[in-house]
Structure formats: structure tokens, C-alpha cells
């Protein structure tokens, strides 16, 4: 094979490779960058060939990891070159160097568009490829129509159309509006008839994205997907070149089954039967073969089929087949299959009642917990965690504890946390719980957060029977040579309180207890010293008659700490000294601590957090269902459903790694990421040349493996879970507490169109809305979180007088773990700020009734428009008088900078036009309001802020309708005065519910039941 074809490039690459060390390499690279820079500065003398060559060099240097902060312009400019070779390089290098947020990209939108709409097929391909790889929102706005045309055009060849499909997918991901839902579903159905497999594969990727967002519009595609699957998996009706190791395009099969998983059910019996036949064939007909690639491909299909069967959850017959298959997989030698077996078994826990069958594999899963591969160990841990219940908790937790000492650092935190959660959740008796936690502190003290030991103390204090046992255990542990500081704390506390109960036993005399504890004092931090001082004082008081030797010793310590730098310690020492001098008269001061109130601890409010892995999620869901009373009662059966007040433990902290938040919009945290320190240049191994020249032997055996030391360091940073702020539901008789803050959820939904409206341990009500002029459509998603049905479900809408609302039928029963969707049509009759209320009730043991405000708020009927000064001022002048224009000085405004203010206005659909007002302390916004009475009505808003006092501003609102002007002005005021806090930030979880202003009762609103209710809420 010829080398690059560009001599200069090859020479440069060779030079870099010949550099004996990193320093030389840097010198060589810097020299080259300097050269390129000079050449680019004087562009006139540059031939297209040279430009191309330099741009490639830049990419190579960039790939080596050096900063290349110039020359983007040259790369981008090649896109507009007339000839293919230059254009090709321009497109490809631009797509590698830049990302979608780069400003340079805006400059080429036109050039790219010209290539897309031009007649040259090869140019079209280049342009589509680049847009598909790095196109952002700007591209989606300007190009989506053109790309759509290419995709559905009958004159384009497949090579263009498959790229157009994926390009459109990219644009859709950046801006879902690019696909006009109504017409598009028919198009999609047609596209699924495509015979070219390349195009069909791309179209299927597109469909997966579409149905994952809005399955309802694409029901017509369902039978087609089943047909495609039949064609591939059953009929093998596919050109030879699209079979992969004898398997008809495994990728298309996987994608098709993925798309099908977004449809909740398949109602048509024929379609359903056909699909199940195919699935049956895949489940039964996949054998393990020798060829690795064939095996992987067939199992890729098989695992997707398993997921689809789990989703359709239909015939129990097939489900047991699935479990049997998975049982087989988790025991095989092939690590990939074992990994996936464990992963899918964990998923299976979520969807069906197969726990008992899965439990049979417990021994095998525990073996995987000790696998050499950390990926597999993590899966095993997640699965064990998910499958744990009262029947097997003892075994599993003990297994986890045993493994804890051997486990690598990267997993300890997670292990410790999971063991603690399981121990608390499923403890068969309290002494076992104390044992587990003390062991946990002993083996992994660094990973046991304070919450966990507080919790032990709380249990011990509240259970008298447990106290002597705990004291005995605490003494055992503290007596060990090197104990963790957390152990010192918990032991000191328990021994101080309860060691006197055992005073007569050998080894438990006050003196002995004191001397064991006092050994630890020199090595601990101040907060532990404080606990130790208290313990000493308590020991002293329990020694009646006093032991003069012990007394002198302890007094000497108090004396010493009376001058300690830390005021807390100082004060304690002084007070304890004075009190203990008074002898038995101070006895009551040093009495046992009172029992803890049965506190309502917050449960982990993270179930919706995508950051948590699936097993975590399942466990949280399980837990929310199985909440029992606060005390860990001895129980052999699963807690009865729902009738208990949902009080519970906050155990702990979620594991979260020390992640860099800078990874853009990626969701970073994850319970099981590992943090590894890496040497970027691992030691060179001997056989470099052999590596370079060795073919990338397909299936080649790995060469002598050189393994740099993995410094896995793990920084345990744990983020505390906030107690959840419970929004009080005054006057509601239910004892089911909502999860999350209802008011915050509502406020968030006022600004966005989908999210959770309400959640409690039994139900989750999600909401999704679409708005078109004065029409709106909600879909309420009622999800039953339990494994038994919710009955007597009733949903009533109490609309305010300005909204016409129609809720479709809500079924009376929601089956276990099912979600029902109820569309709700909304028509806005006239402007008003009154709110609609959903009166929702269900029965799960007890009747639960909640009244929820629906986010059909004023701003949903606003559409921001952008205006120029020429358009704006004539309108502004015509609407100059009250009541069409109202002006008010608003005080007590939340202080916001101008950009923040603009963001706020844009958030409520008032389009801020930055260029109109010359004064930069003012903001001008415009929007169209839609209602049946006003039709489309222009609204103009001006906000004049006072830079010296950000808490006040002058607000002017104009529109062609007096009511609208008034309502809109009041509405904006509400948002300025109390801006709803962002609900997601964890620190806000503590914040008290945001107080909604009472909607002022105006005119017609006063007779409105919805408005009255909304006021009550």
C-alpha cells in the first residue's frame, strides 16, 4: 500500500516517530506548527495541495495530544473549495477538530447547504456526513428541510439517502421540532419498506430515536418492524453481502427489536403472534459456536430478543425460558456472555415476578462476585443487591462483608454502602444489624459515612435489650490494635452510655473501659475527642462510689483540655470538670441519653436520577414499596403494603465518585465509575516494531502483555442525600407522603413540558404536554410502582373558567408495574392566571387523595417572537394608553443580572429582543398570546431596571386586550418576585417548599372552583 501520497506529511510523521523522547517530539511539533502558522499567514502563495497537506498535519498533531489553536479557519475554508480533493479534506478535518459548539461552524452553514442542495452526489455525501457528525442546533434550523427532501427523494441513490437518514437523526437529536410529527409518521412507515439494507439500517436508527420520544405517533410502524424482523430472522431474505458470519444483518435485527421495545403492547393478535414466533426462534435457535464473531453477533441478537420478551412480558412460558437461558449464561466461561447474563438478570428483577427462580442462582452469582474482572464483579454486586430480600439478606450481606476485605479499592465504597442499606432494610434481628455495621466500620471505615453510625446509635438507644450486647461488641472492636476513627466514635458513645450495664463482667470495669478508650485519644481528631470527653465524664459518674485513682486521672485530662484551642472541647472539659466535682449531685446530668424520637428519615430521593444505575434504581423502587415502620422489627414476611406510614431510614449517602463536572452535558456521576490515575506514557515495551508491523490479526492472540501498574486510587467523596422537603398537603387525610416537593415539581413544569408532576411510594404521575396556539394536549402518565394493582383510581379535572379541558377515560385499576396514559385536551378561552387542578385519588390499603395544580399556565399559550426596532416601535406607540398598556414599579424583586433576567423572560416564553432598547439596563420582549377570545394577540413588554438597586424595576406591558395586559403583567410579577428555584440542584432539596403566591382573585376567577382550590394548595 502506498503511503499517504503526500511526501511532506509522511516525512513529518516519520520525524515525529523517530524522536527519541517526548521533549524532542515537542520540539519537532512546535517547529512544524510554527512553519504552518507562517504559511497560513501569507495565504496567497499557498497552493490547494499545500493547504491540504498542512491541514492534515494539524490533525495529526492534534491527535498526538497537542493544542492546535489556529488554522481552524483554513480547515473550514477548504469546505468551500471547488474540487473534490480539497473539499473532502476540509469536511473531514473540520469534523475532527471542531465540535458542534464552535463558532467557525456557523460561517460554513451556507457552503454546506449549497453542497447539500446541489447536484453533485459526492459533495452531498461529504456535507451530510459532516453535519451528521458535528451538526448543532443552528444546522438543524437551516438544513432539516433539505435533508428531509433527500431522504424521501426517489431520485437519490441509496448512498446519499442513508446518510440523509442519519443526518436527520442528528438534527432531530439537536432539535426535535425538525420532524413534523403529523406527516412524518406516514413517511417513516413508507421508508420502512425500503429494500436497500444500508438505507433501512439508517432509517431504523432514526425510528428508534423517534419512538423513544413519542411512541404514539408511530403505531403505524409497528407491523412493519415485525415484518422486517420476520424477513431477516425467519426468511433470511437478504442479499449475501448483508449477512455477517452467516447471520442476516445482526445490527438491523437488534435495532428493529430495540424500536419495538418502545411500544407498550402489541394489540393486534396476528402481529403479536408473528413476533412471538420470531422471538421464539431466536431464543431457541441460538447456539454457542466456535467462531467468536459469529457467537457475538448471534448473542447480540439473542440478548436483544430477551429484552423484548421481558418488555412484552407476556407468556409466562417464554419468560421462564429467558430465565433459564440467563441461568446458563451466568455460568459460562466466556466473560462477555457472563457479564451480559448478570446484567440482564438484574434487569429481569425489575420487570417480572421471577425473583424466586433467580434466587436459585445465588451461589453462582456469588462466585462472579470474586471474578478477576471488575466489570463482572460490579454486575454481580448489583444483581445481589437487587435480589436481596428478607429471606436471603443474611447470606448476601455476610457474603458482601467477607468480600469487603478482599475487594479492590474501586469497589469498596459501593460494597460498604450496599451492605449497609441491605442490612438495615432486611435485618432479621437487631443484634445482627449491629454486628454488620460494626464489621463494616472495622473493614471499611473510610467508606462508612457518619449517617451510618448515627443510625446504629439510634437503634441501640431505642432498644434496651440491645444495649448490653452493643456495649460488649463495642468493647471487642475498640480493643483491637488499629481501629478506624469512626469505630472509636461509635464505641466511645456506646460504652459511655451502656458499659455500666456490664460493669461486673471481667474486662468491663470502669477503669478498664477508660484505659482502652484513652489509648485512642492521642491519635483522633477533635470531634472524636469531644465524644471521648463525654464518655469519660459518664464513666466517672457511673463509678459509685468513686474510684479516686480513676477520678484523678480523668480530672487531670479535663484540666488539660480546659485550655484547649477548640472551644467546643474547652467548654466540655470545663463543664464536665465542674459537674463531676459536685459528685453524685450531677448524676442526672450524665444520665443515659433520652430515646430518639422515631424520626421520619428521608428515603433516598434519587429514584428518578438517571445517574443511578439500574440496580440501584430497582432497589430504591423496591424499597419505596416495602417501607416498613422505622424500627427494625423482626419480621419474616414482606411488609404489608402501604398501610404503614412511610417513615424510613435515611441511610446514607449515595456513592458518587469524584467526577469532573466539566464533561459538558454528559451525565457524569455513576455509582460504579472508577477513578484511575494513569501514566500517559506507560513504559515502552520491548517489541514496538513487532507491534507496528504485526497485522492486526483478526482474532489474533494478544501478544506478551505489558501491563502498567494500575494505580487505582479512589477518592471517596460522598454527597449527602438531602432530607426530602415534604410539601404539606393541608387538610388531606392521607398518610402517604409524596416523594419530592410538589410545589417544586409544579414550578419546574411551568417552564418545561415534560416531567414528573407527583410521586409517592405507590404511584408516579408524569406529564407531557404539547402546545399549539390556544390548544394544548397533556398526556398524564399514571405509573403504578407496586407489584399489586392500584384500585379505585379516579381523576377529576377542576378547570378554571378560562380553560376548557377534557380528560379521556381513566381506568379504575392500574395493573402492577403498569403505566397508563391519559390524554387531556386543553383549550384556552381567554387570558387568565387561574389554575386547573387535578383531583386524583386511588386506593392502596387506604384511600389516597391529592389535589395537584396542573401546569396549564399562562405562559404555555405564549409564543416568543423576535422583532426588530422598526417592527417594534410602531406597535409600541399604538398601544400607549391604559388599559391596553399598564405600567408598574415592582419592588422586592429577586436581584438578577440583565442576562439572568433575559433568561427568566425567555423561560416564560417572552422573547427578549436584545437590540431594540439602547439602554442596556432595559429589556424589551415580545410574544404572541393565543386564546379563543383574543386569537393571536401581540404582547410587548419592557423592563427597566435600576442598576443601583436590583430589587426594583419598572414593568410595562402592552397588548391589544385589557385583560391580557393585566393578567400578563401580574404573571410576570409573580415570576420576578419569586423565581421558582431550580429543582434539580441537590442543595435545594433542603429548601422549604417554594411559597406560591395566592393567586389574587380577580373578576370571574372568584367563582371558579379551580381557582379557589388552587388558592388552597
Amino acid at each position: 500500500m502506498a503511503l499517504s501520497g503526500m511526501r511532506g506529511l509522511s516525512v513529518f510523521i516519520s520525524d515525529v516517530r523517530n524522536c527519541p523522547n517526548k521533549e524532542q517530539e515537542r520540539l519537532r511539533v512546535d517547529k512544524e506548527l510554527g512553519h504552518i502558522r507562517t504559511r497560513f499567514m501569507n495565504e496567497r502563495g499557498l497552493t490547494p495541495y499545500e493547504k491540504k497537506k498542512y491541514v492534515w498535519k494539524m490533525l495529526y498533531i492534534y491527535m498526538l495530544g497537542y493544542d492546535v489553536d489556529f488554522g481552524h479557519n483554513e480547515a473550514v475554508s477548504l469546505i468551500s473549495a471547488p474540487k473534490y480533493p480539497e473539499k473532502q479534506v476540509g469536511y473531514i478535518v473540520t469534523a475532527c477538530l471542531l465540535n458542534e459548539n464552535h463558532d467557525f461552524l456557523r460561517m460554513v452553514i451556507n457552503a454546506v447547504r449549497n453542497d447539500i442542495i446541489g447536484r453533485n452526489e459526492t459533495f452531498q455525501c461529504l456535507a451530510l456526513t459532516m453535519v451528521a457528525n458535528i451538526g448543532g442546533r443552528d444546522f438543524s434550523e437551516s438544513l432539516s428541510m433539505d435533508v428531509q427532501k433527500l431522504l424521501i427523494s426517489s431520485s437519490c441513490r441509496p448512498l446519499v439517502r442513508k446518510k440523509a437518514a442519519l443526518c436527520l437523526l442528528r438534527l432531530y437529536r439537536k432539535n426535535p421540532d425538525v420532524v413534523n410529527i403529523d406527516g412524518w409518521s406516514d413517511r417513516m412507515a413508507q421508508l420502512l419498506d425500503e429494500r436497500d439494507l444500508g438505507v433501512l439500517t439508517s432509517v431504523m436508527s432514526m425510528l428508534v430515536a423517534l419512538v423513544s420520544n413519542n411512541v404514539d405517533a408511530y403505531w403505524n410502524c409497528l407491523p412493519k418492524c415485525v415484518k422486517i424482523l420476520e424477513r431477516l430472522a425467519r426468511n433470511h431474505d437478504i442479499p449475501q453481502e448483508y449477512t455477517y458470519y452467516g447471520i442476516p444483518s445482526p445490527w438491523l435485527q437488534v435495532k428493529t427489536m430495540r424500536a419495538l421495545q418502545y411500544f407498550p403492547t402489541i394489540e393486534d393478535p396476528n402481529t403479536r403472534r408473528s413476533l412471538f414466533e420470531v422471538l421464539q426462534r431466536i431464543l431457541m435457535g441460538t447456539d454457542v459456536v466456535k467462531n467468536v464473531n459469529k457467537n457475538n453477533a448471534s448473542h447480540a441478537v439473542l440478548f436483544e430478543a430477551l429484552a423484548l420478551v421481558m418488555h412484552l412480558d407476556a407468556e409466562k412460558e417464554m419468560m421462564s425460558q429467558c430465565v433459564a437461558l440467563l441461568g446458563k449464561f451466568i455460568a459460562v466461561r466466556e466473560p462477555n456472555i457472563r457479564y451480559l447474563g448478570l446484567e440482564n438478570m438484574t434487569r429481569m428483577l425489575l420487570v417480572t415476578d421471577v425473583q424466586d427462580i433467580i434466587k436459585r442462582h445465588q451461589a453462582q452469582i456469588i462466585i462472579s462476585l470474586k471474578d478477576p474482572d471488575i466489570s463482572i464483579r460490579r454486575r454481580a454486586l448489583d444483581l445481589l443487591y437487587g435480589m436481596c430480600d428478607v429471606t436471603n439478606a443474611k447470606d448476601i450481606v455476610e457474603e458482601l462483608l467477607q468480600y469487603l476485605s478482599a475487594a479492590d479499592f474501586a469497589m469498596r465504597e459501593e460494597l460498604a454502602l450496599k451492605a449497609a442499606i441491605l442490612a438495615e432494610k432486611f435485618a432479621p434481628d437487631l443484634s445482627w444489624y449491629v454486628d454488620v455495621i460494626l464489621q463494616l466500620i472495622d473493614k471499611a471505615g473510610d467508606f462508612v459515612s457518619d449517617d451510618i453510625w448515627y443510625r446504629v446509635v439510634q437503634f441501640v438507644s431505642n432498644n434496651e435489650d440491645l444495649q448490653p450486647y452493643a456495649a460488649e461488641k463495642a468493647r471487642d472492636y475498640i480493643d483491637k490494635p488499629a481501629v478506624h476513627e469512626t469505630m472509636v466514635k461509635v464505641s466511645a458513645y456506646i460504652l459511655g452510655e451502656y458499659s455500666h450495664l456490664l460493669a461486673r463482667r471481667p474486662g468491663f470495669s470502669p477503669k478498664e473501659i477508660f484505659s482502652i478508650l484513652h489509648e485512642k485519644l492521642p491519635t483522633v481528631k477533635t470531634d472524636t475527642i469531644a465524644i471521648l470527653l463525654t464518655t469519660y465524664a459518664k464513666i466517672l459518674m457511673h463509678t459509685q462510689p468513686p474510684d479516686p485513682e480513676l477520678q484523678d486521672h480523668i480530672w487531670a485530662i479535663f484540666n488539660k483540655y480546659e485550655s484547649f484551642i477548640d472551644v467546643e472541647i474547652q467548654q466540655r472539659a470545663a463543664e464536665y470538670f465542674a459537674l463531676s466535682k459536685r459528685g453524685a449531685r450531677s448524676m442526672d446530668v450524665f444520665d443515659e441519653m433520652p430515646k430518639f424520637p422515631e424520626r421520619q428519615f428521608a428515603l433516598l430521593n434519587k429514584a428518578e436520577d438517571k445517574e443511578i444505575d439500574t440496580a440501584e434504581q430497582s432497589a430504591i423502587k423496591l424499597r419505596t414499596q416495602q417501607q416498613t415502620s422505622n424500627s427494625l422489627v423482626v419480621t419474616d414476611q414482606r411488609p404489608a403494603n402501604g398501610s404503614h406510614p412511610p417513615s424510613q431510614l435515611s441511610l446514607v449517602r449515595m456513592p458518587s465518585q469524584n467526577m469532573d463536572p466539566s464533561l459538558g452535558d454528559q451525565e457524569t456521576t455513576q455509582a460504579n465509575g472508577i477513578l484511575t490515575k494513569v501514566d500517559p506514557q506507560p513504559a515502552q515495551s520491548g517489541d514496538v516494531l513487532g507491534d507496528l508491523l504485526g497485522t492486526l490479526a483478526i482474532e489474533g492472540p494478544p501478544g506478551a502483555s505489558m501491563q502498567p501498574e494500575q494505580n487505582s486510587g479512589l477518592e471517596a467523596t460522598a454527597s449527602p442525600i438531602g432530607d426530602l422537603a415534604l410539601a404539606p398537603l393541608d387538610g388531606q387525610p392521607n398518610s402517604v407522603q409524596p416523594i419530592g416537593n410538589i410545589a417544586e415539581r409544579f414550578n419546574a413544569l411551568c417552564l418545561k413540558d415534560s416531567g414528573v408532576l407527583y410521586e409517592d411510594p405507590h404511584i408516579q404521575i408524569g406529564i407531557k404536554a404539547e402546545w399549539r396556539a390556544h390548544h394544548g394536549r397533556f398526556v398524564l402518565f399514571l405509573g403504578n410502582k407496586n407489584t399489586s394493582p392500584l384500585v379505585s383510581v379516579r381523576a377529576l379535572i377542576l378547570p378554571p373558567s378560562h380553560l376548557r379541558m377534557e380528560l379521556s377515560l381513566v381506568p379504575e385499576t392500574i395493573p402492577p408495574r403498569a403505566q397508563v396514559q391519559c390524554p387531556l385536551e386543553v383549550v384556552n378561552l381567554r387570558p387568565s392566571r387561574d389554575l386547573a387542578v387535578l383531583d386524583f385519588s386511588y386506593k392502596f390499603g387506604i384511600m389516597v387523595n391529592v389535589k395537584l395544580r396542573l401546569p396549564a399556565v399562562l405562559n404555555k399559550f405564549l409564543r416568543p417572537i423576535s422583532m426588530t426596532a422598526e417592527e417594534f416601535f410602531p406597535q409600541w406607540r399604538t398601544l400607549a394608553e391604559p388599559p391596553l398598556r399598564l405600567q408598574e414599579v415592582v419592588r422586592g424583586v429577586k436581584p438578577l443580572s440583565i442576562p439572568e433576567m433575559a433568561h427568566l423572560l425567555n423561560g416564560i416564553h417572552l422573547g427578549v429582543n436584545l437590540d431594540i432598547d439602547q439602554n442596556k439596563n432595559n429589556l424589551v420582549a415580545s410574544s404572541t398570546f393565543f386564546s379563543e377570545s383574543t386569537r393571536a394577540m401581540l404582547c410587548l413588554i419592557r423592563v427597566e431596571t435600576d442598576p443601583s438597586d436590583r430589587t426594583q424595576l419598572r414593568l410595562t406591558v402592552s397588548s391589544g386586550d385589557p385583560t391580557l395586559t393585566f393578567e400578563l403583567k401580574e404573571f410576570i410579577k409573580e415570576h420576578l418576585i419569586i423565581f421558582p428555584t431550580a429543582p434539580s440542584a441537590p442543595s435545594h432539596a433542603h429548601a422549604p417548599p417554594v411559597v406560591q403566591p395566592q393567586p389574587p382573585v380577580v373578576g370571574a376567577g372568584s367563582t371558579d372552583p379551580g381557582a379557589l382550590l388552587a388558592g388552597l394548595l
Binding site: Q88, K162, K163, R170, E241, Q666, T695, P708
Partner: protein
């Protein structure tokens, strides 16, 4: 969806990177640093998946090169593993027993080929034959342009003699 593709040599040198999700330059180098540490240190007989920052990275080693693709946690891992193999087979077909050196000196070809297999983080073509044909067509386009250029310059050179 595939968020990025990395080719890393056993010595930790980067041979190809392709990012389908927006990462800044700083993030890119951080990701490469972190992942090459994790992947290069894994033993031979382990599974081909690692869990990383809430994503999964599917990787496979071919001789001295590690091919890595980062996907969402709920994507189909084996499917992606075979996309890697599909890519390698096409490289092999194009270069004829491809080796790391081919990919060093012809790194731009590797990018062309990748673009015919994956775009927008999704598989666009699963037929090796089609991909090979399209790459050959591109090569000949470039070749033709070159010839044209040289013949015109020849003509000019002739004319100005």
C-alpha cells in the same frame, strides 16, 4: 448511540479519535488519558466491556491496537463489539493485512473509512462490499483530480515554453 471512537496503541499513543458527542478539547484529552489507563491495564481474558462514568466502553484488542467505542449504558454491547470487528475487517480488506504502521502513515484513510461505516454515532453501512466500493470510488475521484491538475499544469508548462 456511539459517543466516540478511539484507537489507542499498546504504548498509549492515539491513532484515531472521532467524537460524535460534543466534547471540548480539554475533555477529549482527559477522556483519552483516563480510558487508556483503564483499558491498557486490563488483563487478557476479561470481558470486552468496562463501565465508565455512567457509560460503557466496548473495546477490543487487535495485535498492538485497542479499538474502543463508548456507548450508552443500555445499548447493546455485543452489537458494538461487532461494529468494531466490521471496521477492522474493512481496514484489513483495504490495506491488505492492515498493521498499525498503515494506520499511522495513512491515518486520513482510516478516517475516510470510518465515515463510511459510522455517522452520527450510528452504523450506516453493514456491507463490507459497499463500503469498499465507495472508498475505491473516492480514491479514484482524488486520483482523477490529481491527473487533471497535472495535465493542465503540463499544458501550461508546455505553452509557456
Amino acid at each position: 448511540m456511539i459517543h466516540f471512537v478511539l484507537l489507542i496503541s499498546r504504548q498509549g499513543k492515539v491513532r484515531l479519535t472521532k467524537w460524535y458527542s460534543p466534547y471540548s478539547q480539554k475533555e477529549r484529552s482527559k477522556v483519552i488519558r483516563e480510558l487508556s489507563g483503564v483499558i491498557l491495564s486490563r488483563g487478557p481474558k476479561l470481558c470486552n466491556f468496562i463501565e465508565w462514568r455512567g457509560y460503557k466502553v466496548v473495546y477490543k484488542r487487535y495485535a498492538s491496537l485497542y479499538f474502543c467505542m463508548c456507548i450508552d449504558a443500555d445499548d447493546n454491547e455485543l452489537e458494538v463489539l461487532e461494529i468494531i470487528h466490521h471496521f477492522v475487517e474493512i481496514l484489513d480488506r483495504y490495506f491488505g493485512s492492515v498493521c498499525e504502521l498503515d494506520l499511522i502513515f495513512n491515518f486520513h484513510k482510516a478516517y475516510y473509512i470510518l465515515d463510511e461505516i459510522l455517522i452520527a454515532g450510528e452504523l450506516q453501512e453493514s456491507s463490507k462490499k459497499t463500503v469498499t466500493r465507495l472508498i475505491a470510488a473516492q480514491d479514484s475521484l482524488v486520483e482523477t483530480a490529481k491527473e487533471q491538475a497535472s495535465s493542465i499544469s503540463n499544458m501550461i508548462a508546455q505553452a509557456t515554453k
